[in-house]
Subunit: 366 residues, 2 copies
């Protein structure tokens, strides 16, 4: 059992949608679990920072107001490393940003013994060199790094894949719908029963309902799915070089590559509805529906992201709303895959994955 | 990082189907992970035991042959507790039996600092008093107890439920197919397309294919499902007294309660085919199929196990083979549940859950 006076310091970078939800989950967790005592020692956005040079804890209620009122601007990331490495207790850095710059500093944080947890995909889906450096740094110092929410938000995707591999199962293939936006778009555009609207109308509708990024091209280019596939393929043992080193189908028509804004893109998209209509009709002719999926095959060393057709009775065809689905094909599970399904985006469930990671770190150090 | 000479001792009770698979996974794990060194110090069946009084490790190859050749009979469980508590290293007890007697000793093992991992349902679905005692003992000594494979074999069911609860989500309802046998029986008896055979023919077929217990009544009485529901409901916060303290529908016709053997039961079962035929036809009239499910509703404090009708497009209706499916309805996940699906029985996947538990213990102590 943890000594009653043991303390663990939490440092948070990022206070956006996920960051706010995490902060509230952290506050509730600190109340529920008196030991080890969880203390917030640092929090920052791109504009402000809140911390005390002597590590005096920051209150876990009214934190955001205090941060907004702070007169300190955020120190450089190397300064944050130095500050946290000199702390009198064990430290967990929570990166709730999607910043490549923060991700690039993970090896430095880890080498200095600072545990890292994050939903930030950039760290694990950038260059393979950064991936190797992160895990080498963790192995050297014994610090932990967890990133459950980098794929499927709070769904237990990364932990399940890790456990399959670490217990000696052999993953042969992973296939799934990894984007809540793409899930929603195709579940409404090509439902298993009834009829969807035109492609451009469904994209506009999804944006109006808040299911897309502010600029929908950031979803439609397929890169978000490619990043998640990169992470899973690497965990399964494929040394994928980058999320652009395998075929990724973009749903942005080539002729619209030149659009200078998301609004211009949406305005001109209807001219290309006939292409997507043909794709939908081709699938329908075979009694199938079209879905945007990512998959990799370990034996064939093949990773791909794009449109595929599925029987209407297939679990991928039957998804609801903006749910994700991930099918793990392994030696032990044989012909029927292990399947995990549910909301794969949203502040609360993404923060839950981060809070779950924090619990795993505490089990190791607390 | 673990010190290079650190050792963790493993003690195994049970060398049946799951035990054999676990032993082979342990042997592979010990080879892959040099630190901490995993050493087998004790293994026993109900007839034989293999261990050295000075804890000299038992070889991880040829273990079963050495056990069969051993001249030692198993000591009493209290003697095993004393032996392991006096070991010079940390110890993990692996209970690969389904013995109530071993389960009853878990609090004693845990109080003496011995970590416990097991697929044994009896410990967690027996009296609520034993449940409380097990977790109180673990909290007192700081030893760990994990039982992933007690529900859904290697599927990440227990760990997911624990994480939902521990991160502060509120589970409102859990529903699913928790028995591979019941899954197979109803997927073939009432498929979503095509026609199944008579009930008694399907039961005989399932037994012939090895999907049932040697006496199929041990599956058909619903107790196995009730035990799993008991475990999940308790983890979600319902203080369920026992697996017989809520409604459990048995599929054994009352008139056959008096059968003295499984063979006699199977011989007389066809006389009751009309009852199940009526159930199947009633569902079919509504365009549905019948399935054997377990569920609990936290607000209503209601736990139940039995036959229910599902739309053919419902994920529970669309299960394949002998797969399990578990739907977690929670506050954070809203109207669409988090779903986990896949093989929920079999030696390798059950042992994988146990090996995964061992990795969790090692992360804490290794």
């Amino acid at each position: 059992m943890a000594a009653p006076n043991k303390q663990v310091l939490i440092a948070i970078i990022g206070a956006g949608g996920v960051g706010k939800c995490f902060l509230s989950q952290l506050s509730a967790l600190a109340t529920r679990r008196p030991s080890p005592k969880l203390s917030l020692c640092y929090i920052s956005t791109s504009k402000k920072a809140l911390y005390n040079d002597d590590y005096t804890p920051i209150a876990l209620d009214g934190t955001l107001e205090a941060l907004a009122a702070s007169s300190r601007s955020p120190p450089s990331l190397s300064q944050v490393v130095d500050y946290l490495a000199a702390a009198p207790h064990k430290v967990v850095l929570v990166d709730n940003t999607s910043s490549q710059d923060v991700a690039d500093h993970f090896p430095t944080f880890l080498r200095r013994g600072i545990n890292v947890i994050t939903p930030n995909k950039k760290a694990f889906s950038g260059s393979y060199g950064l991936w190797q450096d992160i895990f080498a740094a963790a192995a050297e110092s014994g610090a932990s790094v967890f990133h459950e929410s980098s794929v499927g938000a709070g769904l237990p995707v990364i932990s399940t894949l890790r456990e399959l591999v670490e217990t000696g199962d052999r993953v042969t293939k992973i296939e799934g719908v990894f984007s809540g936006t793409m899930s929603f778009l195709f579940n409404t555009f090509a439902p298993t029963s009834g009829a969807g609207g035109s492609w451009s109308a469904e994209v506009k509708n999804a944006k109006a309902l808040g299911y897309t990024e502010p600029d929908p091209r950031d979803d439609l280019n397929g890169l978000d799915v490619a990043r998640k596939l990169t992470i899973l393929a690497r965990l399964a043992g494929l040394p994928v070089e980058s999320p652009t080193s395998f075929p990724v189908q973009s749903l942005i028509p080539e002729a619209l590559d030149s659009c200078t804004s998301g609004d211009e893109f949406l305005e001109r998209l209807p001219a290309f509805d006939a292409d997507m209509e043909r794709t939908r009709a081709d699938a329908e002719k075979e009694g199938k529906v079209v879905r945007f999926v990512g998959s990799f095959d370990v034996a064939a060393k093949q990773v791909k992201v794009g449109l595929e057709k599925f029987d209407k009775s297939h679990p991928i065809a039957g998804l609801k709303g903006s749910d994700n689905i991930i099918s793990f094909y392994t030696e032990r599970y044989g012909s029927n895959p292990l399947i995990i399904q549910g909301a794969g985006a949203g502040g609360e469930v993404t923060a839950m994955g981060v809070t779950g990671d924090l619990l795993k770190v505490l089990a190791r150090i607390g």
